[in-house]
């Protein structure tokens, strides 16, 4: 029995390591799945609403963090400085402002778990049942 548990744990760890990567999460009552285009539009402020019409509460990771680089490389295709230039175009025309930045995965999860319209991305190893994965880049 003990051996079986160990094997299961090891398998889980290995698969966890193999799959570790960024995933987009939402509230359990939020959308079931989002496309790459939808996620990209939300993170670039091109759309402000979720598929159900509710105003999205988009959460960013800290500027310069590894996971932020990884997420944007695969979803919006923009580097940190390109994002900064992009947002400065919207900010200085009064047309929009960048998503709120939260620096820790556990805080992000608690925000997503407590707000039905929240969208965020975290490392897949941080996912638990308080949130649901809606897109894997």
């Amino acid at each position: 029995m003990k051996l079986l548990a160990k094997v299961a744990l090891a398998a889980a760890l290995i698969s966890g390591v193999a799959q570790a990567g960024v995933v987009v999460i939402a509230n359990p009552n939020g959308p079931d799945a989002l496309s790459k285009a939808q996620v990209s539009k939300l993170y670039l402020g091109k759309s402000k609403k979720l598929p159900n019409g509710a105003k999205a509460r988009v959460i960013e990771q800290a500027t310069g963090s590894f996971i932020r680089g990884e997420f944007h490389a695969s979803v919006t295709g923009k580097s940190d400085s390109q994002l900064q230039a992009y947002w400065s175009r919207l900010v200085f025309t009064g047309k929009g402002k960048p998503p709120k930045t939260i620096g820790s995965a556990s805080l992000i999860k608690s925000q997503v778990a407590s707000h039905a319209n929240a969208i965020a991305y975290i490392d897949s190893s941080e996912v638990d049942d308080s949130v649901k994965v809606v897109f894997t880049p």
Binding site: K46, G77, A85, S88, F92, T93, G94, L107, S114
Partner: protein
Amino acid sequence: MKKAFIMLPLAVACASQFAMAATTDSQRLAQLEQELDMLKEASSYDSLSDRMSINGFFTGKVGIASNDAGYNGYDKDADFSEGSKLGLQGSFALTEQTKIVAQLVARGSDDWATEMEWAFLSHDFDNGFVTRIGRLRVPLYMYSDYLEVGFAQPWANPPSELYSIVPLSSFDGIDAIYDFDLADVSVTLQASYGHADRDTGPKLGEVDYKDILGASASFSYEEWVFRTTYYQTTLDTTKDGQITQFFDDEQSYFAGVGLSYDDGSLLAISEFAVSDVEGDYSDTQSGYITLGYRISDFTPYVTYAFLETTDDSERNPAYKPSFDWKRNAYSIGTRYDISSNLALKADVTYATDFGDTSGGLEPNLDGAQNQINDDTLVYTLSFDAVF
């Protein structure tokens, strides 16, 4: 002595307790800190800091030219103030849909005098429609909206062959913006109405831009953006410059198209515009094409731009030296992203092919109204930051 005796067992007791409970306490502490952060986070969501935001931008620029032709305002002496500027923008949300935005800009070329560049109240109808009232930007060009924000541009200077033909960047009035998706194409339509009063300099004095009316449409699809715009206004001299009553309710038109492509590596931008003013003022056609390529933090670019007047044959000969223009400009430069909010740009521009005109450069005419230089070479270095 007595105190030490009392303190010692206490200290020992504390230490041992600490040692035993170290892990659980630090875990508990971490948990408490996290909960505190969550509370702060939750309370800040609808607080003042969430409704109000202050942003700024800065450009520190130095330029020097091979002669005194005055391209982009530069001559043989290095100039640190022309083109340098500091901007502060405040945005305050009155409600979820209504906000006030104001932008103050201090320009080195105006001795750092502060000017209100934007100040408007905007209302978002939450169905794609936004309307704004107050002091707004004239959206003539692709980069008009962030003309002041060097950080948002690939160049050290926007190509002046196009960007300087209308000496008006903002007006007082109202506009309406409608954003919607047409299949995979994001469309933005914008229409504006208003007026502006401007001191255009010693030659033409103060000019009233009456009944500014126009619209623009922008279509973005994947990496492409296509934009087209049309504006008209009536020009009227309100205070004479060197020329008396140069504009007397003169109709003028501006029409432009732009196309850009940006896939994250390759960058291509091109714009073309025509302007037409009744009477002796220059009618122009101008355009440019910029090609750039991002290599990690560097974005080297090349630009070709041209400007020419199209009504030379109709102009009163007395005004020909001032308002016949012809110029080609070739630029090579690079943007270097030092950090995510600071960029350095270096640019060399060679302007030539003036024909027998001033090249559209006012300082390039001598006392007898003849051309002084038939070309100019301008070096620019620019630090651009946003914060």
